[in-house]
């Protein structure tokens, strides 16, 4: 039987390297062709997982613990599908966005290719040291992309991002070193029963180090300091990739470690702490988003806030009844997917508005409603998901989380979610209101190519439709 | 064992010095010394492959890159305050 797993990693590695050798023109066309291929590969893998459950692949034929295994279960398949779905429209968007910036485009494709290879490899890996290598590949590619267009702001943001991401992966690697010291293996499959059987205090320290490192990379409050300038200062297609996907990769790992590897040793206290940090992120991030004067900074702070919802999953799913945990778990994963699609659309829309008006302040986008209604419509649709209004994917996700909080009588998370929802409505409407204001006569306006608008609408619609087909996604999740 | 303890002491001393000495150039030189001591430590740990790589890459190339950066920094300083 054809196995798509290795190809999902090899394809972006190959096209990224060839794009570097051949330059942006042919490289870009190759990238788009391969991205279409990767989307079908991810779909094939999803079918295989639904039909046959968890799939393993022993690289080199050795098998863990001597070799490295790839593993695809429901969660990793959802992440792979989400990644390929978001990157494909963004690739079309990027081609239109970087017109006239040959040097940026020359390196955009290879860097994006390695970024994608790192994410696909990360989602498929079942070896904690191999995951470290993918984390470094991911981090360096993301930093390279932030610095792509240069300028004091983005370079400073890239430097800060690099230091944060290196500190995060170093903490993670120290945890891996301790795990190897205790058990003599780095394979998730080999480690899981060993940790369940006997976990000395060193393992708890290793778990804390790995989780802290990944929280820094996910920009969970109060480790969010690096995110807004990096995501807000990068070129729009890059911001979209980073906010929609890159931070989700480290969050995926936190899920993997918490609910899989370290499940026997995690405590309810630690889960409540993670939830509290998530609540802090929701309130503080939304509050700061509301106070921003620049469009992309507002969207970036909104990411800080939305990451918070992801971490509410831990207190709702740890140590609760199976039913509550199931609901929280589904809500959390659905929030990953919904926020990924919506935030990609939102950053891309912000980039299109800035390109059209030539100004990056929120006050500069007056008149957008009449000039580029399609883009504004897409921004508003994405906003519906961010606010969590029906029938969007964001609504379905937050509904499941609310249900879990009600069932487990943890009413304080409900308060946080409601206040967060109101604040996010306030910052989304702050943008929309400005967009509907009449234009000044003097304002210049650049017409947008079609490819700078339609991919955004596609992403925004997907985030909305997710609310209606969420069951399908969740059934994939349950297949493993 | 005595050699190991001496080596460990030298490693820690050079690391602390590289991090705290006021002069940047000195700090980089101390870091290169630290790298070479690390190569010795790897040899003591029966890891000759890492010893080779550490000497060539960790001390050598990283050192060259850092020295070049310090030279660049000093050049900028001179341009700024003639």
């Amino acid at each position: 039987m054809f196995d798509p797993m290795p190809w999902l990693i090899l394809s972006p590695l190959i096209w990224a390297t060839l794009a570097f050798v051949h330059g942006p023109g042919r490289g870009g066309r190759l990238a788009v062709a391969c991205l279409i291929l990767q989307l079908s590969l991810a779909a094939i893998l999803a079918q295989q997982v639904i039909a046959g459950g968890v799939r393993m692949y022993a690289v080199g034929g050795w098998g863990a613990p001597l070799g490295i295994d790839l593993m695809a279960d429901g969660l990793s398949t959802v992440m792979l599908l989400l990644t390929q779905t978001i990157v494909l429209p963004l690739a079309f968007y990027a081609r239109a966005y970087f017109v006239g910036h040959a040097n940026s485009l020359r390196y955009f494709w290879p860097l994006t290719g390695y970024l994608l290879a790192a994410m696909n490899a990360l989602f498929l890996s079942s070896d904690v040291f191999n995951i470290y290598v993918t984390l470094e590949l991911l981090g360096l590619a993301a930093v390279g992309l932030v610095a792509l267009v240069g300028g004091a702001g983005p370079i400073t943001a890239a430097m800060r991002y690099l230091l944060a991401t290196l500190l995060g992966s170093s903490a993670y690697l120290l945890g891996v070193a301790l795990l190897y010291g205790v058990y003599g293996s780095v394979s998730l499959v080999a480690l899981k029963p060993l940790i369940a059987a006997d976990a000395p205090a060193t393992v708890s320290l290793a778990a804390a180090l790995m989780l802290l490192g990944l929280m820094l990379k996910t920009a969970l409050f109060p480790f969010h300091f690096w995110l807004p300038p990096a995501h807000g200062g990068a070129p729009a297609p890059v911001s979209a990739l980073l906010s929609a996907l890159v931070i989700k990769a480290s969050f995926y790992l936190i899920l993997r470690l918490w609910f899989d590897l370290f499940a026997p040793i995690v405590s309810i206290t630690a889960a409540q702490l993670l939830g509290a940090l998530g609540a802090g992120a929701i309130l503080w991030g939304s509050f700061l988003a509301l106070r921003q004067t620049h469009l992309k900074m507002l969207v970036a702070y909104s990411t800080v806030a939305q990451v918070g919802y992801l971490f509410l999953l831990f207190p709702l799913a740890t140590g609760m009844s199976a039913e509550v945990a199931e609901s929280a778990w589904q809500g959390g994963v659905l929030q990953v997917v919904a926020h990924g699609l919506a935030k990609a659309a939102m950053f891309a829309a912000a980039g299109a508005m800035i390109t059209a008006t030539g100004r990056d302040e929120i006050s500069g986008i007056a008149g957008v409603a009449t000039r580029i209604p399609l883009t504004l419509f897409a921004f508003a649709l994405a906003g519906v998901t961010i606010m969590g209004l029906p029938p969007s994917g964001g609504f379905a996700a937050k509904w499941l989380l609310l249900g879990a909080a009600l069932a487990s009588e943890q009413w304080w998370w409900i308060v946080v979610m409601v206040v967060g929802g109101l604040l996010s409505a306030a910052y989304v409407f702050k943008v929309l209101r400005q967009a509907f204001l009449p234009v000044e006569e003097t304002a210049s306006f650049q017409l947008l190519p079609r490819m700078l608008e339609w991919p955004i609408l596609l992403l925004a619609l997907a985030s909305l439709v997710l609310g209606l087909v969420g069951i399908e996604v969740l059934s994939l999740l349950g297949a493993a | 064992m005595i050699f190991d303890l001496l080596l460990v002491a030298a490693l820690l001393w050079s690391a602390v010095q590289a991090l705290t000495t006021p002069d940047l150039f000195r700090a980089v030189v101390l870091f290169i010394i630290f790298g070479l001591l690390m190569a010795l430590a790897w040899a003591r740990l029966d890891a000759p492959d890492i010893a080779l790589a550490e000497a060539a890459i960790g001390a050598g190339l990283t050192g060259a890159l850092l020295l070049d950066a310090v030279a660049h920094l000093h050049k900028k300083r001179r341009e700024q305050s003639p």
Partner: protein, 222 residues
């Protein structure tokens, strides 16, 4: 404020260090014994030196990604917008003695790199160390004023930078036709690993030298 931060971080860091040190003094015996498995399977790996066997065969997939990390770092540096000075940057201090010395040393280093690469199958050494020696030759040539800093790499150079990764991937894919990714057939394993290592040495040498040669002349001119 700053002092408070210093004290807090130093305190937390030392507390953490003490805990870490105390915990590793009291570790149980590891349940999985990988060194024994490596020894048992060494004959199947195509090389005799265990570290090379792990690096290129048992955990070869790690190494594949790691080459991508290195190439990526160079790409990230090249991608930074910069205005390279018009004149080719050569250190002014290049004296004739250094130049003569370099002319002798550089070919010698090439030989050493070849030996280290070949030796890697049996004893310490291999593509990384050989690549580092190559890169050292490149840096030396630059310091002697015989090799200019890189502005933007041309197509041939780009191909050279990428060849190691591409050959590695090509071998991995070709092997998939008759098994799984990177599964070397026993009779071919040694030869294939040497081929990968040879191309890796070239690319690693170029990339590592490139890190220096690009950085050394990467000023933003106003």
């Amino acid at each position: 404020m700053r002092t408070l931060l210093n004290v807090t971080v130093l305190f937390l860091a030392s507390a953490f260090g003490l805990a870490l040190g105390w915990l590793i003094l009291d570790l149980p015996v590891a349940a999985v014994r990988l060194p024994e498995q490596v020894t048992a399977q060494l004959e199947m790996s195509g090389v005799v030196h265990p570290v090379t066997a792990v690096l290129l065969n048992f955990r070869g997939y790690d190494t594949l990604l790691e080459i991508a990390v290195l190439l990526l770092a160079l790409l990230g540096i090249l991608a930074l917008p910069r205005h390279v000075s018009d004149h080719q940057h050569r250190p002014s201090s290049a004296n004739p003695v250094l130049q003569t010395l370099t002319r002798v040393l550089a070919p010698l280093m090439l030989l050493v790199a070849g030996y280290v690469l070949w030796a890697g199958a049996h004893r310490p050494g291999g593509a990384f160390q050989a690549g580092a020696v190559l890169a050292g030759a490149g840096v030396l040539l630059h310091l002697a004023g015989l090799l200019p800093a890189w502005a933007t790499p041309g197509r041939t150079l780009r191909a050279g930078l990428a060849v190691g990764l591409l050959v590695f991937i090509a071998v991995a894919v070709a092997l998939m036709a008759q098994g799984t990714l990177l599964q070397y057939p026993l009779s071919w394993a040694g030869a294939l690993i040497l081929m990968i290592e040879a191309s890796l040495t070239l690319s690693l040498g170029l990339i590592l030298a490139g890190l220096y040669l690009v950085l050394t002349d990467s000023g933003v001119q106003k």
